[in-house]
Symmetry: C2
């Protein structure tokens, strides 16, 4: 099953305590595709300027990402530059230049319209809606957003939510959107406005999935060195949606495992700049870390002890 | 197997967004005993002043807590008063009056000296050491501490660590003690100074157990209402040590399950003021929440899917 992802194809300039990366490939569409394509075919919808080092996306097409939906426009590519604090717990955005993204009108290629899974990366909710309007009958719509849109495009976002199956946000965004500090209550607030499922990403503290009448929690992977957190959330989404789509199911056991795939991809994302870690990532490494998550979280209730 | 717990037997005055409690029973020794005694016999070592409503501890003795190690001294009992922020994420200490605790010289009754498990609640490391000096051969020493001692009694605390098997701290304390923001590295730093195991409590984000070459992570219980967080860490410790002691084992599978018992007890602690919730807590409720933790964290690797 194919995934359609609509997201930014950007150039990132990042400063961490460990070093600096200048104008490396990034953006929600790229990070998502790098992770999801390890599990499932991906179709990318976005736009780049004439300054974009497009050949750096070759490894994605070699891995089954269809880049024919990435429009080439005249002008500068979307650029984000940021600086992380010494303990990597916070970051300052130094610059955001929309470039060609400012006039982007997403047009879904005919060949992409049968994608059963749609991931709406963190872009203007108005654009997210325009993408959705072009998709005849997706099996599931998964949507990300951020503080900027929650604050500035609240009405458009709330309208969009009615058509979203799974909203994927971080803890601060869930709190901001709902106006409730308590995450279970914040998730419930969101669920009452459309999405059947809410995924709350909590960085080093892991992630939670709130379903209709059940929830699932996965811890963060205990990395001794977090090199660059940029894109971790998008790679989480890539792992999550990638697994869902690969088995074409939204059953609880699939969504639980999808949460762990998301966590695995997010943990790899932070190990290096840009999507560098995904060049060499293979099935064995992914499954190895899946097993680590299992070992890290598994316990037996006493009643079961005799089975072990 | 019995547990010896040395800790404060205090009066707490607490203000939360939900209400106010004046001079209710609290302190690390009381919270720990309330939780641990549901799993295992407990012996409490501490001191109270002549103003202490000792009859309020009757429910503990009825449940197998030996209170004969609680000294009655002339003067005021230890008093703590604090106020929580609206979202309960932080608190201000309004007043701490040591009272009779200022001159406390812990003397372990002869009948307590065969306790195989020793929990050193959050008190002066010098007193913790004095307790330990009186215990001939405990199977395991579990120790809590706080920012006040890490800052003001660092040398005594580091000396004590050599004799501690399991250090149990919160994330801020682990970072402060080690000087490292990264929790896996902070835990390693602590392990190099004595404890084989480090438990890091993270409040709503759950808790982590770092062993010699493995780790375990348990999420927080997703409560829609946190009423009063006071004592949650001590009740976590009570559940953890209570389970260890009840099966008299420090094997990995026991410590993993102990982490979940700790989380269950901590989750009940925050549902009401003081130890109120523990009056009515029974085995069925505890096992019910243990199963909820299992359901909240269990997932199948794909390789195992065919077994399910």
């Amino acid at each position: 099953m194919s995934i359609l992802v609509a997201g930014s194809v950007a150039l990132d300039s990042v400063e961490t305590p460990f070093g600096t990366a200048e104008r490396v490939i990034g953006g929600s569409g790229v990070f998502f595709s790098a992770a999801a394509s390890l599990l499932c075919p991906v179709r990318l919808l976005g736009v780049v300027g004439d300054d974009y080092p497009f050949e750096k996306l070759d490894f994605l097409s070699e891995r089954g990402v269809d880049l024919s939906g990435v429009e080439h426009a005249e002008g500068e590519s979307f650029l984000w530059s940021g600086q992380y604090s010494d303990d990597l717990s916070s970051r300052d955005t130094l610059e955001t230049r929309l470039g060609v993204f400012a006039d982007f009108k997403p047009s879904v290629p005919e060949a992409f319209k049968d994608s059963r899974y749609v991931f709406l990366g963190n872009i203007d909710p108005v654009l997210q809606m325009e993408v959705l309007d072009q998709m005849p009958e997706p099996a599931a719509v998964i949507c990300d957003t951020m503080n900027y849109w929650i604050e500035g495009s609240r009405e458009a976002l709330l309208e969009l939510l009615h058509r979203v199956d799974i909203l994927m946000v971080n803890d601060a965004e869930a709190r901001q959107l709902s106006g409730d500090h308590n995450l279970p209550r914040a998730a419930r607030w969101i669920q009452e406005r459309g999405p059947r499922f809410v995924v709350v990403k909590k960085g080093e503290h892991g992630a939670m999935l709130f379903g209709p009448d059940w929830m699932f929690s996965v811890p963060g992977y205990p990395l001794a060195v977090v090199f660059d957190p940029t894109g971790a959330g998008d790679c989480f989404a890539g792992g999550f949606v990638g697994h869902m789509a690969s088995v074409d199911s939204q059953e609880p056991d699939v969504l639980r495992r999808a949460m762990v795939y998301g966590s695995v991809m997010g943990s790899y994302a932070v190990e290096s700049f840009s999507v560098d870690r995904f060049h060499s990532l293979d099935e064995a490494a992914i499954q190895g870390r899946m097993r680590e998550f299992k070992e890290m979280t598994a316990f037996e209730l006493e009643l079961e002890a005799s089975d072990g």
